[in-house]
Every structure is written in C-alpha cells, then in structure tokens.
Symmetry: C2
Subunit: 136 residues, 2 copies
Amino acid sequence: MSGFELDQRLARDSDLIVSLGLCQLRIMNDSRWPWLMLVPERPGMSEIFDLEPLDQSQLSVEVNMVGAALKAVTQAEKINIGALGNIVRQLHIHLIARSAGDQNWPGPVWGFGRSEPYDDHQRQLFVRKILEALSS
Amino acid sequence: MSGFELDQRLARDSDLIVSLGLCQLRIMNDSRWPWLMLVPERPGMSEIFDLEPLDQSQLSVEVNMVGAALKAVTQAEKINIGALGNIVRQLHIHLIARSAGDQNWPGPVWGFGRSEPYDDHQRQLFVRKILEALSS
C-alpha cells in the first residue's frame, strides 16, 4: 500500500464499502444525509493537485462514478461534492445527496449539528444499493 | 457558445477573469477569502457527472490547475474545493483559500455571514497574481 494509512478520525467517522482503483469508498456514519467519502490511498496527500497527474485523472473518474451512483440510488435533487480538509488534513472527498427540506438545506452539511449514527440494517441497505448502482 | 448562458446570480456575485478551455474562471466579489469559481461553458449542466467524459477530464485539469495557482498565490493552509449547487443549479465549482483564523475557520464559507466586496485595486492585484501563477 506504499505507506498509506487512513487518518484515525476518518476511520472513526466512516466505514469502508469497497476499494476502487485509487480510493477507498467509505460511508459516513451519519444517517442525516446519504453521505459517501472517497479517500485516495496515497500517503501524504492533502490537496487534489498534489496527486500525480494519472491519479488526478483517476480521482475524477471515481468521483464522477460514485456521484452518479449516489444520485441514481437517492434520486436527490443535488449531489454536493467537496474537498475541504480544514480539520482533517488527509485528502478526502465528500459526496452528499441533498434534497429540499433535509437538515440545513440549502446550506452545507459540514459543521452542522451532530451526527446521527445508522442502525446496521439501514446502513447495509444503503451500501447494497450503492454497490448495485456501481456495478450496473 | 452552443447555448451556454451564465446564471444571473453567478454573474451578479462574480467577475470573469479568463476563459479556460472548458470553464470560465471567475473571482467571487467577496474579499473575506480568496475565492475563485469555475463555470463550465456547457448549457444545462448541474452535476459534474452530467458532463461528457472528455469535459469531465478537462474539468479535472482546470480545477487542479486553478487550485494549485490559488495555493501558490495565497500560501493558504488549505484549498477548499466544492460543487454544491443547492441554491444556484447551474454547475459551478468553488475554490477557496483557507487559513487558520479566517472567517468561520475551520467551517465552510457557504452560507456564512455577508459578502464584503473588494475595492477595485485589491481585486486587480489578486487577479493579476492568479493570472501570473496560471501562466508560470
């Protein structure tokens, strides 16, 4: 794995769904919104433009693939995609399905309120739908 | 321009710096943070994964190029990159230079407080530096 280690806060707040070519696809353990995260398995990365050019291209492919799957599964009005990293510096990209009337709509999800963990069944159902959408 | 028209709210809140291969590079008229925006000149786009595959690749190139320039110019701790679109649905990508102690750090900029317009000199200086960084 060339020295990549997942940041402990990202590990605590999310669970691995599957490893793609470049990134770990993870689900945030917060049921308030359908919320996925991509973490490139490259050590020492903080900005997307720090990645090697081929990895930048691959990241674009994976972000678009996962974004489309998230939209297909949720039928959300808008997919919010963001790479912030002001708190956790390890490069990670959020993908969140948003719809009118959800918590803090139309504002951003980051820093809003407290997370509400999934129950296992609810999470498994969402993960299965995402995997089906990715493979279709 | 194949029917592309800039959303009126994006036009009101930002000014054109330069047209890149795919996107308009614009500066947000808010001096609280160094804040740029990329708007793909394609009609009817709302999600990045709605773009044609070649445009997705080009968007990745332009986001990374502008992100690196913004970091070089500002020496910011972190570049925040986000495609939200909950309010303005026309596809646009924000790039914001963030540093500890700036307004709402480490929270997101979207929806926070009121914009503080640039004076002309300050804006011109920032734009010139960005253009220099892009061409170097």
